[in-house]
Symmetry: C2
Subunit: 366 residues, 2 copies
């Protein structure tokens, strides 16, 4: 590895003292023009740059934001955090900030990493994702006055408005409310909901968006809402089974809003498999799959989330002035955006033909 | 922000000199046990840790690997590099290494970032993705003896075996060859290929895997191969159109191997739309969509790619001993793995029913 030139190398090459080089860098007006030029030539020739590590020792500023990286999740909607990471890195760059990734398997091991990076002054602030109620990471960061922001609001009772816990989140309620109203506007009257099992803050909030829209638009009772909704975990096969149950009820829905694109994909396959080729479905996450299928979906607007998170972090670090007293400047709820698409029909309305050659015929004679 | 305790704080608390604290840390045998205990207590009470920035100044080691982060790509297969990043971060952690992300929009702007990080000694080595022939980044890194490895082999004539350019790549030829042989084993005889337009190194290599398998198994001529293949860019709609053209030829294929899952998804929709509900299709990338659709697909084995990349980087950094002379220890070609699935039928073989309620009836009377 090439050894980087030091301030001493520059001094030697320019035949001046180390202090003179330092003066040229920091108070050039104190150095005679001839000497200054000689030092500048030496700096250029050697490719010397003042060392960031040395600057960091003085300033305790690494201009780096740490982000814990969970193991890869599979699943159609697993890419939202990855999209966010792309957006965050690009926007951080515009503020001269870099992103340090570190492995995060559980909140506990992530906290150990956070403590280590913090102790070493390698990171100025942390961006956390997927926080939960009673999260040990946020507790420690608050106790130790380490700047952070979370993507995802805390779901506890007291901490959601706590100025010590800055967060940015996407308003899932508003996204699903929009999606439901859109389906109502296009003629659906019995809009079903395919969500996750209860007691996830994010999931409950999305379901509430659908329930409020249905109460407002169609005066639905709690019993109506129960009859129109069903829960499933994300894998497409599970979602398809749940959607088939929903579609087989005595008064089935005529459209379905889903808590994720993964659920929506399952619902689409369920509807197609019972012959409903135009069944109106809206997903959540606006994933590449939604785009490929022509599925309408709620976009989480990761660019806005990244901008809001950086805004809160820069505020924390004192670069941006804090807002007016009494205004909540520590929390941002981003309103997602429904992307409406012409839904792709998986098959055309025409008779099924046999495949042209060998293999299928073999299969059919089995 | 809490000010971190310094070595001076420890010295003051333990009522010893700074040098004594340093001795306790670096040569404890030189310090009397009573003094040593007092210093240890002060270190624990204050939570002092030797500063990584100071260590870095001495060692020029940041234990950090830089990775340029391209803007988010949409598309079904866009997540391979994201999956790789998860795997790489997790495995780097096991070697005590972290990952520094920085925004990379073009190879030129990425190179500027690389130079800046290198000058500041913030990063020891770089992991590059999506390199191309004549890439300015690899040229600069080689010229400046900065350790790096690329995910993706260089496609130039001379540089693929250049020991100065360490790379790890996935053997696309082997993946598509496997996929083609698998389809032949299950009864297909006219296996088509839906690939990208020529002159992309990665794409040509994958096509060659199909072509070699077809020549070997079915004695295909170049004319046969032309008749069985077609090219398209990745968006599903474009892929679907191309697959429809292929399926409409006078001697259409009875199965299709695709250069990506995005192309495979288009092919699946094309086949379903003309009534071939069981049409055998194999994709490439083993994306979440392939999993959701039950589509067989070639898995790039990002865990193995990450392990190989780290192996080459650690070797470069002198931690791992270099291999025997004459053995190529600077390049790794990972063999991908075909994941065979029972393909999901998008619809069942049964008559199409009308939708149960309002909206669809409205549409049908329009």
């Amino acid at each position: 590895m090439r050894k980087l030139p030091t301030i001493e190398d520059v001094a030697r090459r320019a035949n001046v003292s180390r202090q003179t080089v330092s003066n040229v860098l920091n108070s050039p007006q104190r150095v005679r023009p001839g000497t200054r030029d000689r030092v500048q030539v030496a700096i250029t020739e050697l490719g010397y740059r003042p060392d960031a590590s040395a600057r960091r020792l003085r300033t305790q500023r690494s201009n780096t934001i740490g982000i814990g990286m969970a193991p890869a999740t599979r699943g159609v909607s697993g890419s939202v955090l990855d999209s966010f990471l792309h957006a965050f890195t690009a926007q951080a760059d515009k503020h001269g900030l870099r992103v340090m990734l570190f492995a995060a398997v559980t909140p506990e091991t992530e906290l150990e990493q956070i403590q280590r990076l913090r102790d070493a002054a390698d990171v100025d602030a942390f961006m956390l994702t997927e926080t939960h109620h009673g999260d040990p990471r946020t507790g420690w960061l608050i106790d130790n006055a380490v700047p952070f922001v979370t993507f995802g609001r805390p779901w506890g009772i007291d901490d959601i408005t706590d100025p010590a816990h800055p967060w940015v989140d996407v308003d899932g309620w508003a996204g699903v409310y929009q999606a439901t109203m859109h389906l109502a506007d296009t003629g659906a009257t019995r809009i079903g909901y395919l969500g996750w099992p209860r007691l996830s803050g994010t999931g409950d909030e999305r379901r509430r968006g659908w329930a409020d829209a249905m109460r407002e638009r169609f005066n639905c009772t709690d019993a109506d809402l129960e009859a129109l909704s069903i829960a499933s975990l994300d894998p497409t096969a599970a979602a398809k089974e749940a959607a088939l149950v929903l579609l087989a009820r005595s008064s089935p829905p005529d459209a379905i809003v889903c808590a994720s694109d993964s659920l929506a994909f399952g619902a689409l396959m369920a509807a197609a498999s019972v012959g409903h080729l135009d069944f109106p479905i809206v997903g959540f996450d606006n994933s590449p799959v939604a785009e490929a299928l022509g599925l309408s979906s709620v976009d989480q607007c990761v660019d806005e989330v990244a901008a809001a998170a950086l805004d809160l972090l820069l505020d924390e670090r004192g670069v941006v002035a804090p807002g007016e007293p009494g205004v909540d400047t520590r929390h941002r709820l981003v309103t997602p955006r429904l992307v409406v698409r012409e839904q792709t029909q998986l098959v055309r309305h025409r008779p099924i033909q046999p495949a042209p050659t060998g293999r299928r015929e073999n299969k059919e004679t089995k």
